[in-house]
Symmetry: C2
Subunit: 253 residues, 2 copies
């Protein structure tokens, strides 16, 4: 049974606390939060919540789940040395943690919202540590969360985070634009949801490059011209259509 202490009260902290609280192989030792009123979890033993770092007890792992900018300072203020301390950021390098403790990264690759349950078993855990021994400890703990555990360097993690911008932020923006076009023509956006689902499902079995369809990849200039003419009233949308069409044609050769 590993003792886990979680520092933070944001979205990631919230889901980590809930998971460890219900785990049979991990013990939720303490929660440090500057704003304890933010931590609303049924069945939680509130005596575990502390607001003073000096009250921190011994634990096998301290998980710092705060915003990127706050990680370094919080790790500086920890009143102990040579214990295992990790952060949960997709972008911050392992070195932002103060080297007086043994350092690691425990990055769950998913978007978290407080009011939406997550299934940790399916979430890729991207792990890093300064030493092999500490990596094994972090790995054991991560395996209590998820079936998908990866050793990922700080540089790799940064590239994952940029990929995530493409497949999450930019993809969602495509949904925003599709929704806008639908709204302008009084079409309920949910009409596109089965297509959106199938598009995401398809690449589980087909490489994205092989799943590419549509006028751009088949160089159907007649349809592309018709679409551009249709978008004539919205110069931003038209330019974006053209830019993305050219990008598809450059990458799928």
């Amino acid at each position: 049974m590993k003792d886990i202490t979680i520092l933070g009260s944001g979205n990631v902290a919230h889901h980590l606390i809930r998971y460890v609280q219900n785990s049979h192989s991990l013990n939720l030792q303490q929660i440090y939060a500057r704003s304890p009123e933010k931590i609303i979890l049924s069945g939680l033993d509130v005596s575990k919540i502390i607001t003073d770092l000096n009250q921190l007890q011994e634990a096998d792992l301290y998980i710092i789940a705060v915003s990127d900018d706050a990680i370094g300072e919080l790790s500086d203020r920890l009143p102990f040395e040579n214990r295992l301390v990790v952060h949960t950021s997709g972008t911050a390098p392992i070195e932002v943690l103060n080297a007086k403790n043994r350092r690691g990264v425990f990055y769950p690759l998913q978007t978290f919202s407080k009011n939406k349950e997550v299934d940790f078993k399916t979430i890729p855990m991207c792990l890093e540590a300064d030493t092999d021994d500490d990596f094994e400890t972090i790995k054991y703990i991560a395996e209590q969360f998820s079936d998908h555990v990866y050793q990922i360097s700080s540089v790799q993690r940064k590239s994952i985070h940029i990929s995530a911008v493409f497949v999450n932020n930019f993809v969602n923006h495509m949904y925003v634009l599709g929704n806008k076009i639908c709204d302008e023509h009084n079409i309920p956006f949910q009409i596109l949801q089965p297509l959106i689902k199938e598009t995401a499902d398809k690449i589980v079995s087909v490489k994205p490059i092989d799943a590419q369809t549509g006028p751009a990849v088949r160089k159907d200039s007649k349809t592309i011209e018709k679409h551009l003419a249709f978008l004539d009233g919205n110069i931003d949308l038209k330019n974006l259509y053209l830019t993305l069409t050219e990008s598809i044609q450059n990458y799928n050769v």
Copy 2:
């Protein structure tokens, strides 16, 4: 029991034939195909396949499921008048069909591959007809396929098709780019699949504009600068990152 005749042997024809063949409320009357050898469906009564338009019998609905360019000519060559004839295209207007017959559109909004089963019940059917009576007939038949039946004009259908380019073609291209970044850093692309799935699932319950997250929408210029520096070696990818970041900032105000 409505008699349905299907003309064509491509992906859409293939799935329509299979569905009608197994339907209890629709009768597969005939299949017209120039290349009947393309139609490989177990249990199909091959005597129903004809290669000569003059063999076409009376039917309640003739579904022309051929490429956009071929619809007009095939409808010209039909050896009868005043019967109900529809096409299945997302882009072609209803008028490409020869007006000697009663015209309509029967557009299933989904991507079809021959070797991947589809569940018609979930596919939005976009319908159009010249008259109310014919619309009711097409609607009844479409309801035997799907729980999601919509009356959609030719102009609306065109805008749906353009939205579909954004939420399918362009989204898949984002997957291609994410995959490329992963490959360059020896990261298995499947690490992003839970995030891709969650991104698509989220907009079932949240409007895309409200689901937008990431450095662009929160105007986190420090992270954006870091990402652009990381992409410095690939000018195309860097420009696209910048263009899409600006587009998010323009639309989410």
